[in-house]
């Protein structure tokens, strides 16, 4: 009862970045419990190979189900797959990413197994041989430590909290038979709004603009900074600029937008209202650029520059280009 099961999330037949984070979290937990990491995926033909690569992140046994019907999210089949594995093996914990899909799927599995679920966890420990998690509540204004009364303990992990770590698992690949029927909830393939656009909630670096940007036409300034920071960087926005129609709602960070927790968060012309902080305060490194030294964003920032963003940002972009260009 020390093995841990992780959900390998796919989009189409591609593994999503959060899958590696989930396996990394599972590996960490399994190491403390002295167990193995199992991974499960339900995807279209050919997807199993890709999932098998999770052996490099510590997966010991990899269960994959393939079917033409599994090209899109298939919650009914997934719940059957989890139930089957949970009946076969005795898991200490089952981990999901707190992605759009993970947050839809995990409660279904929890209810099917009749076990408790902790959502969006930001920390994971073992106490007296049992998993104990930390999760934000009240829009990150408080943190709760949560234990589980029975195993398996179900949890979804906040994106970007568990940075993928390579670790060699034994990687035994087994095929799983999962019925595509019956289907209660029929989901169509994801339609991406802009091809290849990274979602702010999953980016490992975020550059957010606020009302200080002064208008929708100035965003090329931030796009250049995003570009300089390289792949994995996405744009974010405060609610003020979303309400003004300068940026789409999908980019809004905060209590009524997305919760982000990137490795680097750059707040440009954002005052740092409590509702904005609610969406980004767990970021690893926070940088603030604001002309007002009293702006509350400086209270949570690790590094700040006081000044006019229209002067600071181009200079910073240039300097970052230099550093990254020099093999950084």
């Amino acid at each position: 009862m020390s093995d841990v099961l992780a959900y390998a999330e796919l989009r189409g037949s591609q593994l999503r970045g959060v899958a590696r984070e989930t396996v990394t979290g599972a590996r960490r937990l399994a190491d403390e419990l002295g167990g193995d990491v199992h991974v499960v995926s339900v995807g279209p033909p050919g997807s199993g190979e890709e999932v098998a690569s999770l052996a490099d992140y510590g997966a010991d046994r990899i269960f994959t189900a393939e079917d033409g019907e599994f090209g899109a999210y298939h919650p009914d089949a997934l719940v059957r797959a989890f139930q089957y594995l949970a009946d076969q093996e005795e898991y200490a914990a089952i981990l999901f990413p707190a992605s759009a899909r993970g947050k839809d799927l995990a409660p279904r599995v929890a209810a099917r197994l009749g076990r408790g679920l902790a959502t969006e966890i930001t920390d994971l420990e073992v106490e007296d041989g049992e998993p104990v998690v930390t999760r934000p509540t009240y829009a990150d204004k408080a943190y709760a430590r949560v234990g589980f009364t029975e195993s398996p303990a179900l949890m979804s992990i906040r994106p970007n909290v568990f940075i993928p770590e390579e670790s060699q698992g034994s990687g035994e690949h087994e095929e799983l038979e999962v019925d595509a029927d019956p289907v209660r909830t029929r989901v169509s393939p994801v339609e991406t709004s802009e091809e290849g656009k990274l979602d702010v909630a999953e980016a490992s670096q975020v550059v957010s603009g606020g009302r200080g940007m002064q208008g929708p036409d100035n965003w090329s300034l931030l796009e250049d900074l995003v570009d300089a920071l390289g792949p994995g960087t996405a744009l974010g926005a405060s609610r003020a600029v979303v309400d003004a129609g300068w940026r789409p709602h999908a980019e809004q960070v905060g209590q009524t937008g997305k919760v982000v927790s990137p490795n680097l968060y750059v707040a440009v012309g954002i005052s740092g209202a409590i509702q904005h902080l609610a969406g980004m305060r767990t970021s690893n490194v926070i940088v603030a650029i604001n002309k007002d030294p009293e702006a509350p964003i400086f209270d949570v920032a690790d590094y700040g520059i006081i000044g006019d963003l229209f002067e600071v940002v181009p200079e910073l972009t240039e300097e970052i280009r230099k550093i990254r260009g020099d093999g950084g």
């Binding site: 408790g116 959502t119 943190y143 430590r145 994801v190 979602d199 680097l264 920032a301 690790d302």
Partner: protein, 249 residues
């Protein structure tokens, strides 16, 4: 068409959250309670569907303390027809709440079961799919567009960098996200009418929880952050420190 909407009583989003000395919860003195903001989208959607079809019943359901009557009256003032209060202090454990709601819903007749996507106090985001699973119903979460026809519904849900469409046979469970509609304000007439609408109260015994709150704490105040400098001249120093010290470049 009968629609049941689940609404939760939660502290207003502007609440200053202070954890109590024993770390078992938050200090509720002076806290203003409201209908969970996401549940307002659910109530609005239910009323709109009833209005469009010119028939049907909208019932608001809450698991909460006696005071939650206030939030149910709010839903009635917006336009719900009747309400049910399952009286108990709702636990943080999502599965316990889902089981309790499902036990009440099991004997009821409905075509659509609407929820908010998330309660803004515990931020669990788990009750709707759990209720669906317990009742054996189809379910779509975080829905920004909903089309209800006879016997079926099509929902559009937000996912990273796009959306996906979900087909559901009725009865079904849907959880709502901002963008679905603009919740109406209850007018005086609605508020007066709400006082006379039927509201049933039932005491319930909660089952044992599947998760246990061990302790709560407030986020660490501030950081060891510092102002690197002023104006564009500070940019090279910031870049250097991000590279060498923070190692994020």
């Amino acid at each position: 068409m009968n629609i049941i909407v689940c609404v939760k009583r939660v502290p207003d989003s502007g609440t200053r959250v202070r954890v109590t000395g024993d770390g078992r919860g938050i200090d509720t003195s002076g806290v203003k309670y409201v209908v969970n903001p996401y549940d307002e989208f659910a109530v609005e959607e239910a009323i709109q569907i009833r209005e469009e079809r010119g028939e049907g019943q909208v019932t608001a359901l809450c698991l909460g303390p006696d005071e939650a009557e206030e939030q149910l009256r709010n839903a009635l003032a917006m336009g719900a027809d009747d309400a049910v209060l399952l009286e108990a202090e709702p636990p943080m454990d999502g599965l316990t709440v889902a089981r309790e709601l499902a036990a009440e819903l099991e004997d009821r007749d409905f075509d659509l079961l609407l929820f908010g996507k998330q309660a803004i106090d515990d931020d669990n985001m788990q009750v709707p799919p759990m209720v669906a699973e317990i009742l054996g119903l189809p379910c779509a979460t975080v829905v920004v567009d909903l089309d209800v026809e006879d016997g079926r519904a099509v929902a559009r849900r937000e996912v990273e960098g796009g959306h996906e469409m979900v087909e559901l046979e009725l009865p079904a469970v849907v959880s709502t996200q901002k963008g679905l509609n603009e919740p109406r304000y209850a007018d005086l007439k609605g508020i007066m009418a709400a006082k006379k609408k039927p509201l049933e109260k039932k005491e319930v015994e909660l089952a044992e929880a599947s998760t246990e709150l061990l302790s709560m704490r407030e986020p660490e105040e501030g950081t060891d952050g510092e102002i690197v400098g002023e104006g564009a001249e500070a940019a090279p120093e910031l870049a250097r420190r991000l590279h060498e010290e923070a190692k994020v470049l």
